[in-house]
Every structure is written in C-alpha cells, then in structure tokens.
Amino acid sequence: MNPLFALALFLLSTAAGYLLIRQVPALLHTPLMSGTNALSGLAVLGALSLAGVAAASGNRWLGLAAIVLGMVNVVGGFGVTERMLRLFKKRDRAGDPHA
C-alpha cells in the first residue's frame, strides 16, 4: 500500500470515527463498545487477503488461524451486541409483570 495513501486513509477514518462517536449516551457504551469490537474482528479481511497471496507457502496456516480468530471476534461480537441491545426496552414495551 502506498504509504501516503495509507496514512491519509488512516487519518480520515480516525477523524470520521471520532466525530461519529463523540456524543453517545452512557446507556449505549457497552453495546457500542462490543459492536465496534466486532468490527475490529474484520481483521479477518486481512487474513483472507493473506491467504489469497500466500497460497502455497507455510504462511497459509497463519492466515487460516487468523481467519478463525477474526471470524469468532466478528460473529461473537455482533451476536452479543444484538442480545444486549434487545434488552434495552422502553417502559411501554417492557410491560409490567407485577402490576
């Protein structure tokens, strides 16, 4: 990757992320954290790229291991975020089993 391009992309994306998340209510800190955590599992993309180029070498095993770990991170992360977010209810929807 062209260093200048990589650096520009890095800075722009960082700024975008920063602007997006500045004003998040505390209520959503955990789900947001686990959601972005799931996204960081997209390292699996890098692992796939690696597996693509390192077709014949011993590095393929490293790539495959990285795919498994990254994939667990992505799927587990999104899954658990979904579960957490479903817990957040408004009063009218929550119902009141004791009332």
Partner: protein, 468 residues
Amino acid sequence: MPDALVVPALAVLCVLILLGIHLMSRVKTALLGNRLCAISALLAILLTLWQGGLFRAGDVLIALAIGLAAGLVAAVRIRIMAMPQFVALLNGLGGASSALIALGAWPQAAVTGLFARFAVSLALLVGSVTLAGSLVAAGKLQRLLGQKPFVWPGHRLTVLSLLLLAAAAVAGLLTGLLPAAAVLLLVILGSLLGLALAVRVGGADMPITISLLNALSGLAGALAGMAVDNILLVFVGSVVGASGLILTQIMCRAMNRSLTAILVGQTSRAALVPAGPPAPEPVAPPVQTDPFGEAADRLGKASQVIIVPGYGMALAQAQQQVRELVLLLEKQGAIVRFAIHPVAGRMPGHMNVLLAEADVPYEQLYELDAINPEFAGCDVALVIGANDVVNPAASTAEGTPIYGMPVLAVGDARHLVICNFDDKPGYAGVPNPLYTRQERVTLLLGDAAETLRQLQTRLSETLEAEKT
C-alpha cells in the same frame, strides 16, 4: 464483478459501516445499526473472498465456518453477567488475528520496502499487546486472576523500558540492523507490555482498560490492513481505534484522570499515597437496632427514591431483586429513578446492561450530571453495592485515587440507605464518611441480593400494616 467496480463497492461498504455506527449511537436505532454493521461485515468478507479468488479454497472456507460456528455458539451461550470478560476475550482474539496476519505478511514485507516493514512490525507489536492485555483483563474479570492491582517494584520503569525496547526493536527491523527472524522479539515484547499494563489494573480502572484495549485492537487491525493491502481493514480499524479512544477519554474524564497517568502507572491504590490529610479517626457506625425496619419504614413513606447501583449489585447478581423492589415502591406511588455513575461496574455502561436485563426501562436511568441536583429533593437515596462513586471524600481526600472524581451526591438526600457487603472502604481504599455519619443513614450489610430480599419482605409488611 469487474475490477472497476471494486473501488465503488469498497466506498459503499465504508459508508454503510459509518452509517451503522452512527445509528448505534442512538437508543432507538441501535439495533438497526448493529445489523447494518453485521451485514456490511458479511459483504466485506464476501468481497474479499471474491477479490482473492478464494471461493474454491476449501481450507479458507472451512476456517471461516469454524469461526462462524464458534462465534455463534459463544454469543448465544454467554450469560449477560459474564459480558465484560467475554468482550475482553473477543477483543483479544481480534488482536491475535492482526498479530498472526502480521507474522504471515512479514516474509513478503521484509523484502518489499520500508513502509511495509513498518506496518507489519507495528501491527505485530500492537496485536500482541492487545492479546496479552485482553487475556489478563478477561482473567481478572472472570476471577481467574487476582482482583487487586498487581504492582511489582519498579513497575513503571519496567513498562517504560519495555516500550523503549520495543521501539528499538522496530527501528532495528526497519533499518535491517536486526535479522528478519527478530520479528518474533516483537511478539515477546508486546506480550510482556500487555501483561505489565493489564495486571496493574483492577476495579474502577477496568472500564478504562477495556475501552483502551478495544482502541488498540482497532489500531492493530488498521496496521495489519496496511501490511496486506486491505483498504477496508485500514478503514474499519481506524474507525474502531478512534471510537475506542473516545470511550476511553469519556471514562477518564468521569474519573478526573489523565490517560497518560493511567498508562504510566499511577493507577495504584490509596495505600501507596499517604500524602492526603490524615484520615479521620475511624468512628464506629451508629448502632442500629433494626436497620431493615428503619429502611423499610423510610422507603414506605418515600415519594421520591433514587437508586445508585454499583459493582456490588453485579457481583451479587441482585438486579432482579432491585427491579422487584422498584415495582413495590412504584405500587405505593413513589417515583423511582436510577443514578448511573459513568464508571460504576467493570466496563463502560455495565450497569445499564444489567438493569436492562432485569427489565428496568431505560427512561428510568439518569446520568451523573442530570441526577445530581435531584438528590436534595429526594426522600431516600438507596445505594446498592456502590462505594467509591458515592464517596464525598473525593472532593477533599487530596492525593488519593478518587480525588477530584465527580461523585453522586447521595449525601444530599433526606435519608440514605446503603446496602453494601461490608463497611470497609471501596476499591480505591478511601474511607467513606457516609458510613460513619451519625444521622440520616441506614446501613444494610451483606450480600446485596440477600439484603434486598429481606428489605423487600419488610417493606411489603410495612405497606400491608399501613393498609389495615
């Protein structure tokens, strides 16, 4: 799909992911945002498979399937109670994945050029830090490791030397002064660094560490993306890094700490800082003949109640009992609100998730700034397993870890009921003057779930007695 379409496809995916994160920052749209991110992730994986011509690569598909299955099973099976350690563990896996990519990309990068070597060696270093740090954090949260911060003599010096050594190793690899095989040195240094940073952390510093590790896993991903020429990974990693950093910042601000102070090791306990004013002579808490009766009596008459949950509630898994008590209070006509301190619990937003699990509607939860003026007008403030975050000593105990930390002003309430495991100081080790206050306070000691069960029984009796 021809190559000309790859760039627009990448751009669309980037926008979709940003939109998803944006939606996730509002309660109403958060679920949609998470799904949008998940779908974008799936599309990104498919696109990358296609780009690499991997749809027929059986071993790659098997690896994907194994990860998918394991991730699904884990996500479905994990208890909400175990959420902090699960998130920490997943985070470690992401770091490990980036580190493995870097290792795999090294032989190629070693001959390509300076920038590739730079990206790979940093990805390896940051990935290793993330993995080791997350494993230690998860181990602490799962109580496999000691809860107390573990500090060895010269801890700060160790961290600083490790950082310097790592920088030297990276420089050595870039300039070719070190042989290519020395790249493994980065794994060792990174792991030691992650270990040294995370063992020192416990209690209230945990939310900060968890979000910092999250930021690091994003950074590791971005660097790994540079190493293997994956634009989307650079993008996603950077966004995650930035968002993790913001959460870390929010946590730091909530504790009135600077991030650098935490990183270089000023996260130690009060015991190490005797510089503050002499601790007031421990006064025995006023003897209460029937604290449960008194608490029930106060709650029975209250029309405004504010509940302050803390890690003790999580530990005793008392959120269901809290919810039942709330329903009982509301039945008698009281208005019940929750005051959530930003660093209550062990991960950012921990209390919110636990209360949501117990069906407490989120409109009842208030953040520190919104609720603090309300304590003066409330009849009873009920503290459940929180200590440091309600300790008024934070404004006076100079030199202690909680000095300057904004706390919940529970002392302003007309009456204060404290449910705590014991009357010892909280995690920060600073005695809480509320415990020894001679009036307007009721202490209910013991396991929070058990205490609340008793309180609920007494409260129902009181209410019944009033009816007749």
